[in-house]
C-alpha cells in the first residue's frame, strides 16, 4: 500500500503541474485563407487508382496546359491511397499550413467536408463556367450543399447487374426482368449449380442493397427544411430490405459467408467465377475483365419492380474541390476547371473508363465503348444519392446500414426491429449534425 499511496500523491502533484503548465483547451485550427497569390506552387491531392499510369497521363496534360497559361505557377500532384484518404484529408483540414490547394474527394463526403469547414464555396465560379451547364443534375447535386456549390464533379460511378452468359445459356434461363424474377432466378441457379452463388450479395455491401430499397419506393432519409429524418423504417423501405435480405441463405448466398462480404468481395467472387450474378459498378469492369470470367459475362441494368423498370442506382463518383485554406484561390479554381472539364473527362474515360459527368460527353463515350451502355441507361433512368447531410459520413463510418442488414441476415432481429433501430441511430446522427 505504501507504493500505492506514494504513486497517488505523485500523480496528484503531476496533475496539478500539468494543469498549470499546459494550454487549457485542445487545438482548433483556423481554416480561412489569408491571401490569393497569382503565382507559386499549387499542391493537389488525387486518389491513387489500381492502374494509375493512364490517369497520371491525363492529369499531366491538363497540368501542362495550366502551367503554360499561368507563368510563374507550378503544380505539385500527389496521389494518395484511397483507404487512408479520410485520415489524410482530416489532417489537411486540421493543419492548413501543410494542406493542399485542391483535392479529389468521394461525393458522399461533400456535406461532411463542408461542415468541417474544409471546402471553399465556388458557386459564383461554377455558375459562370460555360461547360458546367451540361453537368447532369445528379452530379450537380453531389457537389451542392444548401444551394451552394463546393467543387466540380469529376466522374460518376453507377452499378448494374453483371451476369454469366454461359451459365444462363447452360440452364436455358432468361435474363430477369423484374426484382421478383431476379430473386427467383438467383435461387434457381444455386439449386442447379450449388457451387455457384446465384446472385452474390454482401451484408456490408450497402450500395448494392440501396437499389432494392429505392425500387420499392423507400428512401434512406426524408429531407424537410434543411434537416433530415430517417425513413429507413418506412413500410416501403422495409419491403426493399426484406427483398435484399431474402437473398441470404442456403438457397442463394449462405449467410455464414455472405453476411460479412462488402462490395469488393462480391466482385471478387464474380470475377473468380464463383457467382452467376453480381451487382457491380462500371468501375468494376477492369477487375472482372482480369478475372476468370472474361468473355463469358454481360451487363444489364438492375431490374425494378415491374418489367421494363430499372431499379434506381446509387450515383457514386468523385469530385474535385478547392480547400478553404488555399492561398491560391483563383489559380486553384482554374486548375479545378481544367481537371474536371469536358476535355479531361473525355480523356479520363478513354484512359480509365470513368463515366463523364457531362451528358454530352457521356453520350460520346457510349458510342466508343459499348460496355458502358447499360450503366448509362441506369443513370438515365434516374440515379439516387445519399442524404446530403454532414451526418452521412458518421452514419457511414459507424456502419449503421451494414449492421442493420447483418442483424437481419443472422436472424438476431426481424426487419421491423432492425430497421427501426437503424432509423434511431440515423436520427441521432442527423440531430447532432444539426
Amino acid at each position: 500500500m505504501k507504493l500505492v499511496s506514494r504513486i497517488a500523491a505523485t500523480a496528484a502533484a503531476l496533475a496539478l503541474a500539468g494543469l498549470t503548465a499546459t494550454a487549457c483547451a485542445p487545438q482548433t485550427s483556423g481554416n480561412s485563407a489569408q491571401q490569393d497569390d497569382k503565382s507559386g506552387t499549387l499542391r493537389v491531392w488525387l486518389f491513387q487508382e489500381v492502374h494509375n499510369k493512364p490517369k497520371e497521363q491525363v492529369v499531366d496534360a491538363a497540368v501542362a496546359a495550366f502551367e503554360t497559361a499561368h507563368k510563374g505557377a507550378e503544380v505539385e500532384i500527389e496521389y494518395i491511397p484511397v483507404e487512408s484518404r479520410a485520415q489524410r484529408i482530416k489532417a489537411a483540414f486540421n493543419d492548413p499550413k501543410s494542406a493542399p490547394d485542391l483535392i479529389e474527394y468521394g461525393n458522399t463526403d461533400t456535406a461532411g467536408y463542408v461542415k468541417d469547414g474544409g471546402l471553399a464555396d465556388v458557386t459564383a465560379e461554377f455558375g459562370a463556367w460555360d461547360e458546367a451547364k451540361d453537368t447532369d443534375p445528379t452530379a450537380r447535386q453531389s457537389v451542392t450543399v444548401d444551394g451552394k456549390v463546393y467543387g466540380a464533379p469529376l466522374f460518376v460511378g453507377v452499378r448494374a447487374l453483371y451476369y454469366r452468359t454461359d451459365v444462363f445459356k447452360d440452364l436455358g434461363i432468361a435474363v430477369p426482368r423484374t426484382q421478383d424474377e431476379l430473386i427467383a432466378t438467383a435461387k434457381k441457379i444455386h439449386k442447379e449449380k450449388p457451387d455457384l452463388y446465384g446472385l452474390a450479395v454482401g451484408g456490408a455491401y450497402t450500395y448494392g442493397a440501396m437499389p432494392f430499397i429505392w425500387a420499392n419506393g423507400g428512401e434512406l432519409a426524408q429531407e424537410n427544411g434543411g434537416s433530415c429524418e430517417s425513413a429507413i423504417d418506412s413500410a416501403a423501405a422495409q419491403k426493399g430490405i426484406k427483398a435484399y435480405t431474402s437473398l441470404f441463405g442456403d438457397d442463394n448466398c449462405p449467410a455464414a459467408k455472405c453476411a460479412a462480404m462488402g462490395g469488393n468481395a462480391v466482385i471478387t467472387a464474380f470475377a473468380a467465377g464463383n457467382a452467376a450474378m453480381a451487382i457491380g459498378g462500371d468501375f468494376s469492369h477492369q477487375a472482372v475483365e482480369a478475372g476468370a470470367v472474361k468473355g463469358t459475362y454481360a451487363v444489364v441494368p438492375l431490374p425494378g419492380l415491374k418489367a421494363g423498370e430499372i431499379a434506381p442506382a446509387f450515383a457514386g463518383g468523385n469530385n474535385i474541390g478547392v480547400l478553404k485554406s488555399s492561398s491560391h484561390r483563383t489559380l486553384a479554381v482554374d486548375l479545378m476547371k481544367r481537371l474536371a472539364g469536358k476535355e479531361s473527362q473525355g480523356k479520363l474515360f478513354d484512359a480509365m473508363g470513368f463515366l463523364p459527368t457531362y451528358t454530352d460527353v457521356r453520350a460520346e463515350a457510349a458510342k466508343k465503348q459499348p460496355f458502358v451502355a447499360p450503366f448509362i441507361r441506369t443513370l438515365g433512368a434516374g440515379a439516387k444519392f445519399v442524404p446530403a447531410s454532414p451526418a452521412w459520413g458518421r452514419i457511414d463510418a459507424s456502419l449503421v446500414l451494414p449492421t442493420m442488414f447483418q442483424e437481419i441476415i443472422s436472424g438476431k432481429k426481424d426487419v421491423a426491429a432492425a430497421s427501426s433501430d437503424a432509423a434511431e441511430k440515423m436520427d441521432a446522427a442527423f440531430t447532432d449534425a444539426g
Binding site: G18, T28, L399
Partner: protein, 323 residues
C-alpha cells in the same frame, strides 16, 4: 516477505533514496531543508518525462471528454463548446455501450485466465525437459512473441478460413465459418491473443522458477509431494510477486485488445457482435470523428483498469504481501 525475489528490490532504492538526508547531511537547519528536496531533484528528470508523456495526454483526454469536439471543431468550422457530463450521459444511455462493456470484461477475463494457465504450464514444462526441446519451445514462443499483432491476426484468419484454411480441413469442419457465430469468433480471437501473449508469462515465470533455491524443491519432493502439490504449495507462493505483475499486465493488455478484434472480425464482427471497448472507442472517436465521445470511453476504460489494479493490490496487501 520470506524470499528474495525479482520484484522486491524495485522497492528498495526508493526507500534508501529518502534516507541519505538523515545520515549524511550536517545537522544545520538550512542544509537540512535543502536536503529534503534532494530526492525530488534526483527524481525530477523521470518526473518531467512522465508528466509529458503520461499526465499531459491523460489530462487532454479528460478535458476533451467534457467538450463537444468533433472534426468540425478541430478544423475550425464550429466553435468548441463545454458539455459538462453530456458525453458521459450519452455514453451511459447507450445500451450498446453496456453490452460491449460486458463482452469486454468477460472476454478479457477468459483471455487472462487462459494466458496464465498456458504460460505457467509451459514454464513448468520448460524446467522439466532437456536442452534441445527447451530451446525449440523457447524459439517457438519467442517467434510468437515477436510477431506483430497485425501479421499474427491475418495469419490466424487465414488458418481458420472456411474455404482455404488448413484447420477446417484437418478438423473436417467443411466450410464452417469461425467468424460468423459470436462465440466462435470470440474463441478464434482468444486463441490468437493467448498465442501472442503467453510467451511473456512463460518467460517471466520460467525465470522466477529458476531463481527458486533447488534445495526447497528437493525437500518438497523428498517429502513425497506430487508435481501439482509442489506447484501449489511451494512454487506458486514463492512466485507470487511475479504472478501478480504478470496478472496485472495481462489484465491491462487483454482489456485493451484492439488489433486482433479489428483485423480478425473485420472491425467488430457481424452486426458488431464482437466489439470490445477499444474497437468501439475507435469507431466513435476516429471512424466517425466524435473525438469527445471517444475520449469519454477512454476515461471510463482508464478508471476501470485503475480500479481493477488498485483492488487487486489491496487484496494482496490484506493477505500480508507487500509489493
Amino acid at each position: 516477505m520470506a524470499y528474495k525475489t525479482a520484484a522486491e528490490p524495485a522497492v528498495a532504492p526508493a526507500g534508501t533514496a529518502a534516507r541519505p538526508p538523515d545520515t549524511t547531511a550536517p545537522p544545520a537547519g538550512p542544509a537540512r531543508r535543502s536536503g529534503a528536496w534532494t530526492p525530488w531533484l534526483y527524481l525530477a528528470p523521470a518526473l518531467v518525462v512522465l508528466a509529458g508523456l503520461l499526465v499531459h495526454p491523460i489530462y487532454q483526454l479528460g478535458l476533451i471528454s467534457f467538450l463537444e469536439y468533433t472534426q468540425a471543431q478541430v478544423s475550425g468550422g464550429e466553435p468548441t463548446t463545454f458539455q459538462g457530463l453530456g458525453n458521459y450521459r450519452t455514453l451511459f444511455a447507450d445500451s450498446q455501450f453496456w453490452q460491449v462493456l460486458l463482452a469486454t470484461v468477460l472476454f478479457a477475463a477468459a483471455c487472462v485466465v487462459s494466458t496464465l494457465a498456458v504460460g505457467c504450464a509451459l514454464a513448468v514444462l520448460l524446467t522439466r525437459v532437456r536442452a534441445l526441446p527447451r530451446l525449440a519451445l523457447m524459439l517457438a514462443a519467442l517467434g510468437a512473441w515477436a510477431t506483430p499483432a497485425i501479421t499474427g491476426s491475418t495469419v490466424w484468419v487465414f488458418l481458420f478460413d472456411p474455404d482455404y484454411g488448413p484447420v477446417n480441413r484437418m478438423l473436417g469442419l467443411g466450410d464452417f465459418s469461425w467468424t460468423y457465430g459470436r462465440l466462435s469468433a470470440f474463441a478464434l480471437v482468444l486463441f490468437e491473443v493467448v498465442w501472442c501473449s503467453f510467451p511473456f508469462v512463460m518467460v517471466t515465470v520460467y525465470a522466477g522458477i529458476k531463481a527458486i533455491p533447488g534445495e526447497v524443491l528437493e525437500a518438497a519432493s523428498l517429502d513425497g509431494a506430487s508435481p501439482w502439490r509442489i506447484w501449489r504449495s511451494v512454487m506458486a507462493p514463492i512466485l507470487r510477486p511475479i504472478l501478480v505483475v504478470v496478472t496485472i499486465q495481462s489484465v491491462i493488455w487483454d482489456f485493451k485488445v484492439f488489433t486482433q478484434i479489428y483485423v480478425m472480425t473485420n472491425g467488430g464482427g457481424i452486426a458488431g457482435q464482437n466489439l470490445v471497448l477499444n474497437v468501439y472507442a475507435y469507431q466513435k472517436a476516429f471512424a466517425s470523428s466524435q473525438y469527445s465521445l471517444g475520449s469519454a470511453i477512454g476515461v471510463v476504460m482508464l478508471l476501470i483498469l485503475l480500479a481493477v489494479t488498485l483492488v487487486y493490490l489491496r487484496l494482496l496487501r490484506r493477505e500480508g504481501e507487500e509489493i
